[in-house]
């Protein structure tokens, strides 16, 4: 027996920049590869979802109005903080998801690089997605992207960190506050990632992360009228249908993707302006150009 007892971290939700327990008081164990309990995570409720939306709503005006340069620097700061905790993340991934330590380390490195890539996009996608329009008349006419609003993210089981980071960074880059639901079965990297957000100058409420059951949180997320967009990965056919049906209530922009583990490593597939575009609205502005 060890001379010293380990101090085990209590895993909590991440809402509005704080780490509250779920209001439901529920938690469940996270097991390692040998079925040993290595942590407990919160099982968030629909009330926690509503609290997260409220936090995101408070954060929305500031984040949507932040300069593109600032959003880029904050995404870059997240990469810096993740780099510093590379070992801890790699160990959390390999101990709870069954991937080898070497592969887990590569996933953390890919996640860091993914954040750097989106940091760079923050002040560039506007020039790719926007344009001036050659209308047939005496008008100056141009189209600019603006953030859609609060975005709900449904992360897949695998790759547990890289997919979550990718799905959160795209809408963030677009200027949208995010509420992410971690994977049911591999939530530990998401819990650690909330600590990265908390220490990277991400304004409170811009990123909110809930652990729990996708089946329970899917409905309140896709039906909530203050959520403007949804980004989900690897949903089952019945989940796709129920999300799209519920989202019709307020015409949420629903963007559902299905990728293999290898595809999550492909920057051109998952980290291009076309991964930011679903979370912006194109605004076209006309002004007469006569004297």
């Amino acid at each position: 027996m060890n001379a010293r007892l380990d101090v085990i971290k209590t895993c909590k939700l991440f809402i509005g920049g704080a780490f509250p327990r779920t209001e439901s008081g529920r938690s469940r164990p996270v097991l390692d590869g040998k079925d040993r309990v290595i942590a407990h995570v919160c099982v968030a409720s629909r009330k926690d979802m509503r609290n997260a939306v409220e936090a995101a709503r408070k954060a929305a005006p500031g984040w949507m109005d932040a300069t593109a340069y600032l959003r880029g620097q904050i995404l870059y700061r997240m990469a810096e903080m993740l780099e510093g905790r590379c070992d801890e993340f790699a160990s959390a991934i390999s101990s709870t998801t069954g991937v080898t330590p070497a592969k887990a380390r590569r996933e953390v490195e890919a996640s860091i690089d993914r954040l750097v890539r989106f940091a760079g996009w923050a002040d560039k996608y506007q020039q790719i997605l926007g344009c001036q329009n050659p209308v047939a008349g005496p008008y100056y006419n141009f189209t600019v992207p603006q953030p859609t609003g609060i975005t709900g993210v449904l992360a897949p089981t695998s790759p547990s960190l890289l997919a979550l980071v990718t799905l959160v960074a795209g809408p963030m880059c677009a200027g949208c506050p995010v509420i992410a639901v971690a994977s049911d079965s591999t939530p530990l990297p998401a819990v650690l990632f909330s600590e990265i957000c908390a220490t990277s100058d991400v304004p409170a409420g811009v990123v909110n992360i809930l652990t729990g059951q996708r089946s329970e949180l899917l409905e309140p997320m896709s039906r909530h009228r203050e959520i403007a967009a949804l980004l989900g990965a690897n949903l089952s056919p019945s989940q796709r249908t129920s999300v799209q049906e519920a989202a019709a209530d307020n015409l949420k922009r629903v963007h559902l993707v299905k990728h293999s583990d290898a595809q999550w490593e492909d920057d051109s597939l998952v980290a291009s302006p076309w991964n930011i575009q679903p979370f912006v609205e194109s605004k076209t502005i006309w002004h007469p150009s006569s004297t």
């Binding site: 790719i128 344009c131 329009n133 050659p134 209308v135 047939a136 008349g137 008008y139 006419n141 189209t143 603006q146 403007a228 056919p237 019945s238 796709r240 249908t241 129920s242 999300v243 799209q244 049906e245 989202a247 019709a248 209530d249 307020n250 015409l251 922009r253 051109s268 291009s272 302006p273 076309w274 609205e281 194109s282 605004k283 076209t284 502005i285 006309w286 002004h287 007469p288």
Partner: protein, 492 residues
């Protein structure tokens, strides 16, 4: 509708003075078949449903033609024709595909007067507007998109755009031919084939367009036109071989469609309703702003999804703006849509007239004050509603919240730019907005903060094939026009 006491304001004499306009009817003859079939696989044929309905001229209530009502079997035939045509159409050399669209644009220009007259007869809009707005824009839409057909790889950096397949496209009655062009041109340019369903009150110009498609030798099945009402549209949207549903119409129907395609992997774009704010600041050029208000709400009888139906005027100038608006409104000529002097034509249908009257009654019932054109009698036959505006409107009033889709304006006031922005954005809609001020920095700040897909600054209701159009929030998603509109018709 209740009779309205004549307004006694000093400006209320007709600004045209003692003399009156002589009639100036547009006389270009149009041949209208007594009955129409469905346009499927390049030919006109009778509906298997054996059902028909009449289309009337809303200005005279006279029957213009008998229209086929496509049933599920007809819709299936149209979709199968489109499906069979899609592969060869997509494999056609893109520059050749472009040439078909250029041909369509040219034939529309050549036949534009005839099409304009038909549009006005079937829909009730003034000939001035169908001739000078609908037709030129519809032709431009084909011409603009023709050129994209062989350049799509430049529209989406880093991506390889592919056609979606068969597009089911459902369009409204307010700009019938123009909406057909908005739907068909980008879909065809991107290599898709189409089944188009016109609105049931305005099928004739789409069917005339089918003649043009035959004239330009468009391959059979590339465009199919199925006429009918909501059931026809539902059969089209729900057809399993349709890969893309594009709809322009009400938010209510848009949500029903969004639910009906849930889980189907169909791509969906929606251009829905609006209750667009038009904001006039004290430092605006007032006379120009008044002209802008006129075109924002009385263009096309107010049957415009982006109509500026909520007018916000800075409190210090509200009396001046309302005076000038009342004066200007009296100069609007309401009546025969085929008369070249007509400014406001017929309401599209009896049903829409009822809707408008219900809102106007609600406005008066809730305590707002109505002002309307009162200088001329309305025709005895047909569906008519005088252009009007309400003052004393509270934000909670029905007429300030819901889309009326008629020539009815709600006038409200504000004191600060912040108040104007928050009240303008306080709606589930987000289609368009107007800003009137001569301060450049204010324009950009307000334009940035308004939640709307189209912002008209010191102008209103201007359109162009190169300019993306579409809404924020519950006004729908996807864009039509410009490079952005192409994305609705490709997959990566």
């Amino acid at each position: 509708m209740k009779p309205i006491a004549p307004d006694t304001h000093e400006h209320d004499a007709s600004p045209t003075g003692e003399w009156d306009y002589s009639p100036a009817p547009e006389r270009t003859p149009v041949k209208i078949e007594e009955s129409h079939g469905l346009f499927i696989n390049g030919t006109m044929r009778a509906p298997k449903s054996r059902k028909r309905f009449d289309t009337i001229n809303p200005a005279t209530e006279q029957v213009l033609s008998s229209i086929a009502e496509a049933g599920a079997k007809d819709v299936d035939d149209a979709v199968q024709a489109a499906k069979a045509a899609q592969g060869p159409w997509a494999r056609l050399k893109p520059s050749e595909r472009a040439k078909y669209l250029y041909r369509i644009a040219r034939r529309m220009q050549e036949r534009s007067r005839e099409l304009a007259v038909l549009e006005t007869m079937d829909g009730g809009k003034p000939i001035k507007e169908s001739r000078d707005v609908d037709l030129p824009l519809a032709a431009q839409h084909f011409f603009y998109h023709a050129g994209w057909a062989d350049k799509l790889e430049y529209a989406f950096p880093g991506r390889n755009p592919k056609p979606l397949g068969v597009c089911g496209q459902i369009i409204p009655w307010n700009f019938p031919l123009l909406m057909a062009a908005w739907k068909l041109a980008p879909a065809l340019a991107c290599g898709n084939t189409c089944v188009l369903k016109p609105a049931e009150t305005t099928s004739l110009t789409a069917l005339k367009l089918a003649e043009i498609l035959q004239e330009v030798d468009l391959p059979p099945g590339v465009v199919n036109i199925v006429t009918g009402a909501g059931d026809t549209g539902a059969a089209l949207a729900e057809h399993p071989d349709v890969r893309k549903v594009a709809f322009t119409g009400s938010t209510e129907v848009g949500k029903i469609l969004a639910r009906s395609v849930a889980g189907s992997n169909k791509k969906l774009t929606l251009e829905l309703g609006g209750k667009s704010p038009n904001i006039v600041f004290a430092d605006a050029a007032i006379d120009q702003a008044v002209e802008g208000i006129v075109s924002s709400i009385w263009f096309n009888q107010g049957h415009v999804c982006c109509a500026g139906s909520r007018l916000f005027v800075e409190e210090s100038i509200v009396d001046e703006v309302v005076d000038k608006l009342r004066h200007r409104m009296q100069s609007l000529r309401v009546g025969d849509p085929l008369d070249k002097n007509t400014d406001v034509g017929a309401i599209n249908s009896a049903g829409q007239l009822e809707t408008i009257e219900r809102y106007v009654d609600a406005g008066e019932h809730e305590g707002a004050i109505m002002h309307e054109v009162n200088n001329q009698p309305l025709p005895t036959k047909g569906y008519w509603h005088r252009p009007c505006f309400f003052t004393g409107v509270q934000p909670s009033h029905l007429i300030a919240r819901e889309e009326i889709f008629g020539p009815v304006l709600s006038v409200m006031t504000f004191r600060t730019p912040e108040e104007a922005i928050s009240r303008a954005n306080n709606t589930p809609y987000g289609l368009a907005a107007g800003i009137w001020t001569n301060t450049g920095s204010k324009i950009f700040e307000i334009a940035r903060k308004l939640d709307a897909g189209v912002i008209w600054c010191n102008t209103y209701n201007t359109f162009d094939a190169a300019s993306p159009f579409g809404g924020f929030k519950e006004s729908g998603f996807g864009r039509e026009g410009g490079r952005h509109g192409l994305q609705s018709y490709v997959k990566f």
